[in-house]
């Protein structure tokens, strides 16, 4: 089956400043892809190029097998069959909800059953006569989705649609939007800088870094087997330690750990939830600080002298145990599951990637 969207070696940008470098992306029909990247990585430019608002310098884009951009082709946005849900909804303020949803339909259908069907889909049945200004931010966002879906586009693009919402509302609206997308069986590209959102919502995650597509895969794959350390530390909290790997095992400050990846000297990537605190761990450590999150806690540890020399100062781990240890307590640390090895000189661990990362209250601090 023809993929809904094929982006092939796309280069785009502004005079004197390339933004996208040979970006490839294939979105099968019916799939929700999250394009994940920090601000300024080019994800919005990519979206605008797909929608037809940003010219390509090279490469091509096709929608449902029809070339829409590249190689002497430039289909105007109105003929691309690509729906758009911008960051803050961008509803037409002078039209009521029904007219907003019916905007992309043919004249005869604008007051027809399709509008009601779409409003029903996003859980806003009966809201047709309201004006956009009378809706909450989340409702506006859902109307924007209904509007984009109404003309049955080949593809829907969502540009950070939840960023402008309050934290409390965000998860709820996200759930409603995702449900609507799945019910409609729509193909969608969701652009976001929020790792949790990308991992939790999408069938596929495409990581965009400095205008290059560095990894495309299922959320688990991206989290467990990131293509490089940068991706690994970007998509989630990480513990990175120097290690020597041989025959599927790595020697580390936390003891021997089963690994995948290259042999020899390098760095091992672990997730904080792989570290277990208990009486029978391999090394001893002192708890420096314990940050309580409700459902779990992040514990910052200082490893004992011998291990410290190799691992650096502070190691973080996530624990779900009811009684997480308090600052000053002595614990032992064990590692569960497999780690991921990356080749490289352990002596030149960039500080941002080192396990000495300081306590961060904001999970998304890396990308802002």
């Amino acid at each position: 089956m023809t993929p809904a969207l094929v982006v092939h070696r796309v280069r785009a940008g502004y005079p004197g400043a390339a933004v996208l470098h040979d970006v490839d992306l294939v979105v099968p029909t019916g799939v929700l892809v999250a394009v994940l990247g920090s601000s300024g990585c080019g994800k919005t430019t990519l979206l605008r190029a797909i929608a037809g608002f940003h010219p390509l310098d090279a490469g091509s884009i096709s929608v449902n097998g029809v070339p829409v951009a590249g190689d002497a082709v430039d289909v105007p946005p109105e003929h691309r069959r690509v729906g758009l849900v911008p960051q803050e909804g961008a509803l037409f303020g002078h039209l009521d909800v029904a007219a907003n949803v019916g905007f992309g339909l043919r004249r005869g259908e604008r007051r027809g059953p399709r509008v009601a069907e779409m409003l029903d889909l996003v859980g806003l049945a009966g809201y047709g006569r309201r004006m956009p200004a009378e809706l909450s931010g989340g409702q506006q966002q859902r109307v924007a989705l209904a509007r984009a879906l109404a003309p049955a586009p080949a593809l829907v693009l969502l540009d950070e649609p939840f960023t402008a919402l309050d934290t409390g509302l965000r998860a709820e609206v996200r759930e409603q939007v995702l449900t609507a997308l799945r019910t409609a069986g729509a193909t969608a590209v969701l652009v976001t800088h929020d790792q949790q959102e990308a991992l939790g919502a999408a069938d596929l995650v495409a990581v965009l870094r400095h205008g290059r597509m560095v990894q495309v895969g299922a959320p688990r794959e991206i989290y467990r087997e990131p293509a490089d350390l940068g991706i690994g530390t970007f998509v989630g909290d990480a513990v990175v330690l120097p290690a020597t790997a041989r025959d599927g095992w790595a020697e580390t400050a936390l003891g021997p750990i089963a690994v995948d990846g290259p042999e020899g000297y390098g760095l091992i990537l672990l997730r904080p939830e792989q570290l277990r605190l208990g009486a029978d761990g391999f090394v001893g450590a002192t708890v420096l600080e314990s940050v309580f999150h409700g459902h779990d806690a992040t514990v910052f540890l200082r490893l004992d002298d011998a291990a410290r020399k190799a691992a650096g100062d502070v190691v973080r781990c996530r624990t779900t145990e009811p009684g997480s240890p308090a600052a000053g307590e002595r614990v032992r640390v064990a590692v569960e599951g497999r780690g991921r090895m990356y080749a490289g000189d352990p002596a030149v661990v960039p500080t941002a990637l080192s396990p000495t990362a300081q306590p961060r209250t904001d999970r998304h601090g890396v990308d802002e």
């Binding site: 929700l32 608002f53 109105e78 037409f92 905007f103 069986g185 069938d203």
Partner: protein, 527 residues
């Protein structure tokens, strides 16, 4: 890649036909039709000016130079510049002190004073001048012109300075106090410096207003540039001197406009972020009475005198009998001319405003500058230029409504462009993109999205132009059709004959007519 969700077809059963692969210009470039229309508007705005220059040189370079270097030109220039400088200086003092008293001190009733100090702006200079000369016939010449023009134009300084003081950070003054500066040092070292950009921008507006003013200087028989041009135009068959003088006036006005735009660009009220703090009001203590006297006298002279005069002379006129049919005809003529003027101005302004709001660039800048020519063109010169155009190029509409309406459009295009530009810029481009992605072409998007969203702002611009057209004197005087007399023309001819009682009803009708769009504008802008 791991397992994917089972592919399902996109919703909807009918699949629209595949789009034709079309070539298209790069996004970010304006549609050609818009650029062409905007260029036409720009040419429309500068054409009269160009024609004026051509006409000035029409009598040969020798004639041009002899008029340019003649004693009459120097004399007029000296009078105009002198008056402009004096009024501007007076307005700077009145406006700044008034704004400071009203916004930062504990002056009793400062909210009311704040409104009263803005109102004189609504009074055309020739209405104020008419009342002054009717009250005090001996007050002619420099003193009269100076008084009238100061009284009607000081709000141009008051408004921006008051806004700067309100928007500014009162915390700055507190900071200066905490650093050991006394109240006087704070006033001169911090507050006045802070509002200077706003004050100078307002001052330049006053200067432009005074230089272009025709009504007040004529009534006060102060022989300034505008009056000189008008007299020269009326007096002789050879209109070359008028054209040359017109060109000189344009150059003077252009210099002031240029200076004003520079000053406006620098008028930064606040730097840095964070909430602006309103400082504690300055206590006037024993200066309270003098301060009250200051604002009281200002309001009495600028507002009380005209109000009293209008009432007095209207009563005198009504006892003598008002010519109601004549008044009705004049009102109808004013309405017709001003409505048509507002309509044409908005139509010409739309492409320029849209281009400026959406697609910047060198060419857009050039068109905008051209379209703003009217801002620097005193009414007298626009009238004069269009008289030439009418006689030579379009005799069919000379002294007909269309030429008058064209004159209004040239003069007030900047007002309309500003309104259109702001209104279109306020409609987010994202919304237009969504409309495009929903299958609408650029034209349909404009008609169904941009225009409806911008409509209130555009309508406000039209109301502003209507108001200004209704009040305009010199252009109307020079271009109005013979026999069709607007309120301004009627008032003018009666005043000229010394029939103040007969002139008063027209002035009242004019003020009332202007009040309707003003009130509506005020409501729209406050929303």
């Amino acid at each position: 890649m791991s397992t994917l969700q089972t592919p399902t077809p996109a919703i909807g059963t009918t699949v629209p036909p595949r789009p034709p692969a079309r070539r298209r210009r790069r996004p970010g470039r304006a549609p050609r039709a818009l650029t062409v229309a905007a260029t036409a508007s720009g040419l429309f705005a500068v054409a009269p000016l160009v024609y004026l220059a051509v006409r000035a040189l029409g009598g040969g370079l020798a004639t041009f130079l002899s008029v340019l270097t003649g004693p009459r030109t120097a004399e007029l220039a000296a009078r105009s510049i002198g008056l402009t400088a004096a009024v501007t200086a007076a307005c700077l003092v009145l406006g700044t002190v008034g704004a400071w008293l009203v916004t930062t001190t504990d002056l009793p009733g400062r909210r009311v004073w704040g409104v009263l100090l803005v109102l004189p702006l609504a009074l055309p200079s020739y209405v104020a001048g008419f009342i002054w000369i009717a009250q005090w016939p001996e007050l002619t010449g420099f003193a009269g012109a100076f008084g009238v023009l100061t009284a009607v134009s000081f709000p141009y300084v008051f408004l921006p300075v008051a806004a700067a003081l309100r928007a500014g950070d009162g915390g700055l003054e507190e900071m200066a106090r905490s650093l050991g500066h006394g109240p006087a040092r704070v006033l001169f070292g911090v507050t006045l410096r802070r509002v200077w950009p706003a004050a100078s921008a307002g001052g330049l507006l006053v200067a432009l207003y005074v230089l272009s003013d025709f009504g007040a200087v004529s009534l006060m028989r102060y022989d300034a540039f505008t009056l000189g041009i008008y007299t020269s135009y009326r007096a002789t068959f050879d209109r070359t001197p008028a054209a040359v003088l017109g060109c000189v006036l344009v150059v003077l006005a252009a210099v002031i406009t240029w200076a004003e735009s520079r000053a406006r660009g620098r008028a930064v009220v606040r730097v840095g972020r964070g909430a602006a703090r309103v400082g504690v009001p300055v206590h006037l203590h024993r200066a309270r009475l003098p301060a009250l006297a200051f604002v009281g006298v200002t309001v009495a002279v600028s507002l009380g005198v005209p109000a009293y005069g209008l009432v007095r002379w209207t009563l005198a006129g009504s006892s003598a009998g008002i010519d109601w049919p004549e008044l009705g005809a004049a009102t109808a003529a004013t309405l017709q001319a001003a409505l048509l003027g507002a309509l044409l101005t908005i139509v010409v302004a739309l492409p320029v405003g849209m281009l400026a709001a959406r697609y910047g660039g060198r060419w857009t800048g050039a068109i905008e500058t051209a379209a703003y020519a009217g801002h620097a063109l005193p009414g007298v010169t626009i009238g004069l230029a269009l008289v030439f155009v009418g006689i030579r190029v379009m005799p069919a509409i000379y002294q007909e409504i269309p030429l008058l309406v064209i004159g209004y459009a040239v003069a007030f295009l900047p007002l309309a462009i500003g309104a259109v530009r702001t209104a279109v810029a306020a409609a987010p481009p994202r919304v237009e993109e969504v409309a495009r992605s929903l299958g609408h072409g650029p034209v349909a998007t404009f008609a169904r999205v941009t225009l409806p969203l911008a409509a209130p702002g555009v309508a406000a611009g039209a109301a502003l132009v209507f108001l200004t057209c209704a009040k305009e004197l010199p252009i109307t005087l020079m271009l109005h059709p013979t026999g069709t007399n607007t309120l301004a023309v009627q008032m003018w001819s009666h005043t000229g004959a010394g029939a103040f009682a007969a002139a008063a009803p027209y002035a009242v009708a004019l003020v009332l007519l202007a009040a309707v769009p003003t009130l509506w504008l005020d409501r729209v802008l406050r929303r």
